[in-house]
């Protein structure tokens, strides 16, 4: 037995468990899927024919990995402190993000504003459309069938599971990214933050608050 410790007096089996008592995950040894094979074949052909290079592909992956919700948080915080910027953001969120220096490519972005009586939340029922060029890669649950199918039918129940219990009088507006637009929620500024700088405010803006499955952190609940 690899871990036949004296203090293990109970009689259940520890076969297949790590020393810390967790099951080992099976090695990821299954064969490539059809589409994985096709992706590799296409990528190698494009490199062979000189259409792109391995270095260019790596650079694109690095660029995507460098994007994070902090970019969106900076945009949101700026909108809170700068009413003219907020107006530009609501008119054309892509241009407003570019104005702040974010390289978002051809992204078409719409900002939807949460108010005292309206809460917005984003989904893509058809696939996994997400403002990746601004916020980086989406969370895994955003791509799940459960989130995509349930949010459009029972958004309030789904939001409660995220810990967000909306007031009775609030209207929920769900936005299904079905075509060329991507969406970012402009959350409401937390109370008691009027004296904070944009940089301080950005720390309160979570990824989920820009999807609409959460709200910004409150400054009083910030960890020390």
């Amino acid at each position: 037995m690899p871990h036949d410790y004296a203090h293990h007096s109970h009689d259940h089996s520890h076969e297949g468990l790590s020393p810390s008592g967790h099951p080992y995950r099976a090695d990821n040894d299954e064969p490539l899927s059809y589409w994985q094979t096709m992706e590799i074949a296409m990528r190698e052909l494009l490199i062979e024919k000189g259409e792109t290079t391995a270095a260019e592909i790596s650079a694109q992956i690095d660029l995507m990995d460098a994007r994070s919700p902090a970019n969106g948080a900076a945009v949101v915080a700026r909108a809170w402190v700068d009413p003219a910027f907020k107006a530009r953001l609501l008119a054309n969120a892509a241009d407003a993000s570019r104005e702040m220096g974010f390289d978002i490519g051809a992204l078409q972005l719409i900002a939807v504003e949460n108010t005292a009586d309206t809460h917005n939340v984003i989904v893509c029922t058809l696939c996994s459309c997400y403002p990746r060029n601004l916020l980086g890669l989406p969370p895994d649950w955003y791509k799940s069938r459960a989130y995509r199918s349930r949010l459009v039918k029972t958004p309030r129940a789904v939001l409660r599971e995220f810990g967000l219990d909306l007031p009775e009088g609030t209207t929920v507006r769900v936005h299904d990214s079905t075509a060329d637009m991507r969406y970012i929620v402009l959350p409401a500024q937390p109370a008691g933050t009027d004296e904070m700088t944009a940089a301080e405010l950005a720390e309160l803006v979570t990824r989920d608050s820009m999807i609409g499955t959460g709200v910004p952190r409150s400054p009083v609940s910030q960890p020390e």
Binding site: L126, V152, R156, T171, H175, T178, A179, M181
Partner: protein, 96 residues
Amino acid sequence: MADPERVRVKTMMPPGHVRTPAYLRGKTGWIERRLGSFGNPEELAYGRKDDTRELLRVRFSMAEIWGDAAERPTDTLDAEIFAHWLEPAEDAPHAP
């Protein structure tokens, strides 16, 4: 302010790469905003790039989409729908 323009999503079920969700087909909403012209995904999927169509954001009430099963009838859902999927629905009841 004038009443928003009412539209109904066509109920057609063509094969191919279609970006009109099935749960909205046959449903009536109102135009939230017009987005301009974009490549038609039904053609782009096959490498044909010169077919552009007007894209609109259409707002539906949850009551319209889910009927009695709606969680909150006056909540709304917005989706982008290409113009060739929409027909006028001026006879439909007004939005909540």
